[in-house]
Amino acid sequence: MAKFRWTKLGKVFTPQTVTDRPWLKEFAQAPASLVLDEAVRIYFSCRPPPDAAGQYVSYSAWVDLDRRDLRRVKAVAEAPILELGETGTFDEFGTYPVSVARAGDEIRAYYGGWTRCESVPFNVAIGLATSADGGRTFQRAGAGPLLSYTPDEPFVLSGPKIRRFAGTWYLFYIAGTKWKIVSGRPEPVYKIRMATSPDGLRWTRHRRDLVESRVEEDEAQASPDVFWRDGRYHMLFCYRYSADFRGKARGYRIGYASSTDLLEWSRDDTQAGIDVSDEGWDSEMVAYPHVFEVDGTVYLAYLGNQVGRHGFGLARLDSTGAGGGRSP
């Protein structure tokens, strides 16, 4: 029996329902929560229509869900939380995805910044921005990235998830290991990594892939979402094959690993407790999990088919093997 049992609540936000924001045409990717007094703010990343060459840029924004009924949308951001970077900067063509955390009076956003390359389509590095208005808008901490490339993390540093456990900041993210030519086109292979920090600014990298690959050596892993419950750390993440992954058979699924020390992780995807539906918006893939707790209930936000092109949904945790959770 799965460790977690999730009840799907359906899709809660559909970007196509927002018609007066040209930068928010489709996609609501990589949901990340910030619990407010009256709402749960879910940050996501979206795209305007592609340019004449078929190229997308991505922005990050938020939607406020009613804290008493998370299926009810109260508000949608009037503008992206961050403009794109200037010419030549790491985030000139996209700010996606984003993960937020409170730090005193300010809110910090760790995000993937996208640039375009010639031999491969893109590169990504992790940036930092802060908000002084409760998470409505953000300003960059600098024009460059907070986490850039290193000898053993050579490209595609993305998917940051910021967490704090026992006074230490943890950044879970992905790092590219190779560009693989698939049907004549370079596709990145990436694995889950971790860094730690006393202040969220100066980081020490763990320099190891945290989670073993299961479906194939070149399995791509993303969205490492870590939470503490029942005396151990749990990670939900998503994974897919390296080729032909845009359909159901080899597309994203949600995996699971657990750890007692955040360093050694044991993978067992049968424990994730969520899979594709027989039909509907999440019938081909489930991806980009994010777990949050509000008013005593644990929720899972995630993406469905086409990696969130038509929005994100929620599931509610019904049971686990043992009692309630408490942060260390």
């Binding site: 200037e86 010419t87 030549g88 900067t89 790491f90 000139e92 063509f93 640039t115 375009r116 390359c117 010639e118 031999s119 491969v120 590169n123 590095a125 930092l128 901490a141 600098g142 024009a143 460059g144 990235p145 907070l146 850039s148 490339y149 290193t150 000898p151 053993d152 993390e153 050579p154 490209f155 595609v156 590219g176 190779k178 560009w179 030519i181 370079p186 990145p188």
Partner: protein
């Protein structure tokens, strides 16, 4: 102090270079041996698929007076990086330094971008056989962009003073289109980082250590540092950020600064000054300096016109 020019000492068109390269011997970098001086330089091959250049590192061994070429490398000192890596489209320069029994090579890797022409970062490759073959410490860079150094980190020059590794390098401050239109051009300044092992570096994070002479549009490149007497001296090249390729009034010149503490640098381009000539191989441009000591004399290697298309020359300090 005064530079005495020795003229051009290496013409790439006169040698068979690796990878079929026929022109360019850029950013010469010396490594002194008991019986010779090896000078690494970047030459260029053409990439068939794009028709664009790839910078490749070769070397030439000279006698210790720099008057005679003894031997030229038959293959690249380091192959270019793999698909999507920071050094996929060029290594320029490769800057060697002896560290105990090894030779560390700090490389500037080039990779092409779409909205701007290029991005760079600094890699490290290590040779255990005296500078013949180098092996990367990893496929990614050791010095890359950061919050206040957003792009174009390159030109790493490393020396160990007092048990500490120091790196002087450049970082980009701006990509800007010229008023007259055209592609964005870059501006960069000289920065400084320190390290205990030569691999993990701590930057000063955006501090420009050498003052501008031409104002904010001055681009500074290729810092090289050595001790002469009781002070440290830095040579570098500088130019205007726009219209610098064919206008000799705005092209690269050799700059100089000195320091008593490796913290504060006083700029003094005229002492010693590398004179501009009316005509000849280095009359339009002088760039990419590398200073070193050999047999008690201080030499400066540098490139001339067209960024070193026709080779490099040398000067000796008097």
């Amino acid at each position: 102090m005064r530079w005495k020019k020795l003229g051009r000492i290496f013409d790439p068109t006169q040698f068979a270079l690796p990878n079929g390269c026929t022109h360019f011997a850029q950013s010469p970098q010396a490594l002194v041996f008991d019986d010779r001086v090896r000078i690494y330089f970047s030459t260029r091959s053409l990439e068939a698929a794009t028709g664009k250049y790839l910078s490749q590192v070769a070397w030439a061994d000279f006698d210790k007076g720099l008057g005679r070429v003894l031997r030229v490398s038959s293959r690249a000192a380091l192959e270019l990086g793999g698909l999507g890596c920071f050094d996929e489209h060029g290594i320029f320069p490769l800057s060697p330094v002896r560290v105990d029994d090894a030779v560390y090579a700090y490389t500037t890797g080039w990779s092409r971008r779409v909205s701007v022409s290029v991005e760079t970062a600094i890699g490290l490759a290590i040779s255990r056989d005296g500078g013949e073959r180098f092996e990367r410490v990893g496929t990614g860079p050791v010095l890359a962009p950061s919050l206040r150094e957003p792009y174009l980190v390159g030109d790493g020059f490393v020396r160990r003073f007092g048990g500490r590794f120091h790196m002087w390098y450049i970082f980009g401050t701006r990509w800007k289109r010229p008023v007259s239109g055209g592609e964005p051009e870059r501006t960069y300044k000289i920065g400084h980082a320190v390290s205990d092992d030569g691999v993990a570096w701590e930057k000063e994070e955006g501090r420009q250590i050498v003052p501008d002479r031409l104002g904010p549009d001055e681009s500074q490149a290729l810092p090289t540092v050595l001790r002469i007497g009781d002070r440290w001296h830095m040579f570098f090249c500088y130019r205007q950020s726009f219209d610098f390729r064919s206008n000799r009034e705005r092209a690269y010149r050799i700059g100089h600064a000195s320091s008593g503490d490796l913290e504060i640098w006083e700029r003094a381009d005229d002492d010693p000054r590398l004179e501009v000539e009316d005509r000849g191989w280095d009359a339009d441009m002088m760039c990419y300096p590398n200073a070193f000591e050999c047999e008690g004399r201080v030499y400066l290697l540098y490139n001339g016109n067209q960024f070193g298309r026709y080779g490099f020359g040398a000067a000796v300090l008097e």
